[in-house]
Symmetry: C2
Subunit: 428 residues, 2 copies
C-alpha cells in the first residue's frame, strides 16, 4: 500500500470511507479483549503449577542454615533464596534482601522511607521543599504513580536505542541537588523493550550527583525474560559498576519472580551495597516480623538454581514469542510503509511500544475501546499521564489467547489507520 | 515459706547464701533456654502442616467470584479470605482488606501513611510539630518501636484488670489535638493477658477526640487464641460500637493468622469503616500489585470457616495450656506468699506478665541471662524501653519444649528470690 503521507485529499477520503465501513463491521462483533496490562495469560501460568507440589505436610521446612521457615526470624530472607535472587540480578547473595511477594511494594517502601527517614543520614525528603526524579520516557506507569503520590516532581528524559539520554541525565544529576532519583527498567524496558548498552550502564555508575542521597532505582523486572534462546540481551551488573566507580551506595536494584512463577505469589528482592543493606535491615526490624520464608523455600526447591530458572523461562518464552511475533507481523503487514507509525521488535520483556503520528494516541486508544479492545491508556507511559506528543501506545500481547490477540491487533491497526487518515486530512 | 518482707536481716542473709549456692549449681549446668518471644514451638507448628497439602498442581486456583488467584488483581483480597478474617475479628467482610503475611507490617504502613499523606484529608503528620500516641502499659514492644521510629511522643497509660485507664484516656484524647492514636491489644493483652471489659470497649467507642485524625489502633492479635474451651473471654466488636456511637472512622482493627497457621507465612487483615477502606484501597493501587492470593486461598481451603479455625485453635491450646499452667504452678509454689512478685493467670494469648518488687526487673533478667535463660529485656513492655518502676517482666512460655520450660521457670523464680532478697537487704 502507498504511504498515507503521499495521498491527496481525495484518496484519503476514499480510504477513510472504506476503513470506517470495516471498523463498523468489527464493532458489530462485540469484541471484549484486553491488551492493556503486562499480565500473563492463564495458559502461561499453567507452566508454573508444579510450584504447588514441592512442599507438603511431610516436607522438612528448614533453610540451609537451619532456620525453621515456618516460624519468625530471618527477616532478610533465607540464604538459598538470596542466592537465587542474586543470580537473577547478576549479583552476589550478600548484597540481597529477600522481601515479600511484589517488588513494586519494595520500591514504594524505599521511596516512602526516604521520604520519612532519609537515606544514610541525609535529610528526610518530607522536610525538603522540592524533590525531583528523572523519568526516562516512555516508561512504567506504576513507577511514576509512586513518585507522583509523594509529590515528587518528575522530569522526562527521552529514551534512545541504547537507554535514556545520558548527556541530559549527567547534566541534571550533577547540577541539581533536588534530584534524588531516576526510574530505570534497564533490560527489555517497559514499554520499548530496549536494553541499556554497556556504555549507558557505565555512565550511570559514574554519575557525580549533587545530592548525596541520589539513587538509581534500577527495576530489573525482566532480567531473565528473554523471547529467544539464541538472541538475548545482557546488561552490565550496575552494582559492581557503581562499586568500581567509587559510587557503591548509588543504586537500589529491584527484582521479583512475579512473571517467573505467579504474579502476586512470587518472591521479590532488593540488591544494593553493604551500607544500604544495613540501613534497610534496621528498618525491617521495625517494619515487619519477616517475609514469607515458606514461599521462599518453595521457590528454591522448585527452581533449584539459575539453570532451572532459565529452563523455566524458556517455557514462558515458548508462549510469549509467537504472540510477540504475531503482533509484529500484523504491524509490519498492515502498517509497513504507510508512514503512520513505528515500533521496535523486542527480544524480551512484556511490551511492544508503538509510536503513532503526533497527536493520535488518545484517539486510537479511544477508538479501540469503542470496539471492545482495551489498550493501556494513552499517556500512561509518561509522568502525570501526559505524553507531550500524544503519540505513544503500549501494547501488551501477553494476556489474550493467540486467536484473541490477532483479533485485537487487527482492530488496533485499523484504528491506527483511521485516526491517522483523519489527522492527515486535518493537516491538509 | 515466710514472706520475705517479714524477714529480718539475719534471716535474709542466710537465705541469700542458700539461694546463691543453688544459683551457682544451676549456672554450672550451662543452660541455653529462651522465654523471650511469643514464638510457637516447632512441635506446635506441626499442627498446621496440613496447610501445605490443600493446594497442588491439579487444584483450580479460582476465588469464589472467579478471580484467578495465580495472577494480578484483587489487591484487597479474595472474598472468601475477607470472610474468614472478618469472622476472626467479629466483623463483616465488607469492612475488611486482606493484606500480606504480617499485621505488624500493616500497622507500620498505617502509621507511615498517616505520616506521609494524612488520614481522610487531614494534615500529614510529617508537617506537624508534635504527634503523640497513648500507650497502655505494660504493652507490646513492637508497637512502641513503630511510633518511636516516627518520632511520635508516647504517653504511658496504666492498665487495670478491665483494660487501660479510661478516665485518663478520655481526658487526654478530648483535650489534646496532637494525640493521634492509641495502641491497644484488646483481647488477652500483650503481656498481661487482660481482655477489655464491655464498659471499656464502649468508652473507647464513645471517645470525643480533639483530633479528627485520632484513631484507635486495635491490634486484635489474639482474637481466637484461647487456652480453655470452657473459660474464654469475648470482647465487643469495636467497629460496630464505634459506628453506633457516631464515630465510624475512629478505629483501625488488625489481625492475622501468624499464630494460627505459620508466623511469617500467614495472612493479615485490616478492618475499618467504609471511608477508611476506600482510602486504604486507593493507596494500595499505588503501593502494590496485590498480596498473595494463593496463600489466601490456601488458608480458606484448609480452615474452611470460623468453626474450622476454632477447632484448629484447640490443637494449639492443647500445647499451650500445659505450658502456661506449668509456669503458673511454679510461680505459685515458689513465690506464693513471699510478697516479692505478682502475676495474672491468663485465659489466652501468648504471655504471662510478672510484676517484681520495684527496681528489680533488670537485675532479675540479667541474672537469668547469666545462667543461660533469655527473657524479654526488662523495660521492653514500656515505651522507649523505660519501665518507670523497673518491675515488669514478660514471660513467653510458648517456645521452649515442656521440660526446658520447667528448667527455665525454676531458674527464673530463683533469680526473682535472689534479687528480691538483695533489694530487701538494701532497704533495711
Amino acid at each position: 500500500m502507498k504511504s498515507f503521507k503521499e495521498m491527496n485529499k481525495e484518496e484519503l477520503l476514499e480510504l477513510k470511507g472504506e476503513l470506517e465501513n470495516k471498523y463498523n463491521e468489527e464493532k458489530a462483533l462485540g469484541l471484549s479483549l484486553d491488551m492493556s496490562r503486562g499480565k500473563p495469560s492463564s495458559t502461561q501460568l499453567n507452566v508454573s503449577m508444579g510450584l504447588l507440589d514441592v512442599l507438603s505436610s511431610s516436607s522438612v521446612l528448614k533453610s540451609e542454615n537451619g532456620v525453621d521457615c515456618r516460624n519468625y526470624g530471618a527477616s532478610d530472607g533465607i540464604p538459598e533464596a538470596k542466592k537465587l535472587m542474586a543470580d537473577i540480578m547478576g549479583t552476589t547473595p550478600d548484597k540481597v534482601i529477600v522481601y515479600g511477594n511484589a517488588s513494586l511494594n519494595v520500591m514504594y517502601d524505599t521511596v516512602a522511607r526516604s521520604y520519612t527517614h532519609g537515606i544514610l543520614g541525609s535529610t528526610p525528603w518530607c522536610k525538603l521543599d522540592t524533590i525531583k526524579f528523572l523519568c526516562p520516557v516512555p516508561g512504567y506507569d506504576r513507577h511514576f504513580a509512586i513518585t507522583e503520590r509523594f509529590g515528587i516532581e518528575m522530569i522526562n528524559i527521552p529514551m534512545t536505542t541504547k537507554g535514556p539520554d545520558m548527556d541530559l541525565i549527567e547534566k541534571y544529576v550533577s547540577e541539581d541537588e533536588s534530584i534524588k532519583g531516576i526510574w530505570c527498567v534497564p533490560k527489555y524496558s517497559n514499554p520499548q523493550g530496549i536494553s541499556y548498552s554497556n556504555e549507558t550502564v557505565s555512565r550511570f555508575a559514574n554519575l557525580k550527583p549533587a545530592a548525596k542521597d541520589f539513587r538509581i532505582y534500577w527495576d530489573n523486572a525482566y532480567a531473565i525474560h528473554h523471547l529467544y534462546e539464541d538472541n538475548q540481551d545482557e546488561i552490565l551488573d550496575i552494582i559492581g559498576e557503581c562499586a568500581r566507580a567509587g559510587n557503591p551506595d548509588m543504586v537500589f536494584e529491584f527484582s521479583s519472580t512475579s512473571k517467573v512463577s505467579f504474579p502476586g505469589s512470587g518472591v521479590a528482592a532488593l540488591a544494593t551495597s553493604a551500607a544500604n543493606i544495613a540501613e534497610f535491615k534496621d528498618q525491617l526490624t521495625i517494619q515487619t516480623i519477616g517475609h514469607d520464608k515458606i514461599n521462599q523455600l518453595r521457590h528454591v526447591k522448585y527452581f533449584k538454581n539459575i539453570d532451572g530458572l532459565n529452563a523455566h523461562m524458556k517455557k514462558h518464552a515458548d508462549q510469549m514469542r509467537p504472540k510477540f511475533e504475531a503482533v509484529i507481523e500484523v504491524l509490519k503487514n498492515e502498517l509497513g510503509g504507510l508512514e503512520i507509525g513505528s515500533w521496535i521488535a523486542p527480544k524480551g520483556g512484556y511490551f511492544i511500544s508503538f509510536e503513532a503520528l503526533e497527536g493520535c494516541a488518545k484517539a486510537i486508544v479511544a477508538k479501540c475501546k469503542d470496539a471492545g479492545v482495551v489498550m493501556t491508556n494513552a499517556g500512561a507511559t509518561y509522568p502525570y499521564g501526559k505524553d507531550p506528543k500524544n503519540s505513544n501506545i503500549r501494547i501488551a500481547p501477553s494476556f489474550p489467547e493467540p486467536q484473541e490477540l490477532l483479533q485485537a491487533t487487527d482492530l488496533f491497526v485499523l484504528c491506527v489507520k483511521i485516526v491517522s487518515v483523519e489527522k492527515l486530512l486535518e493537516l491538509l
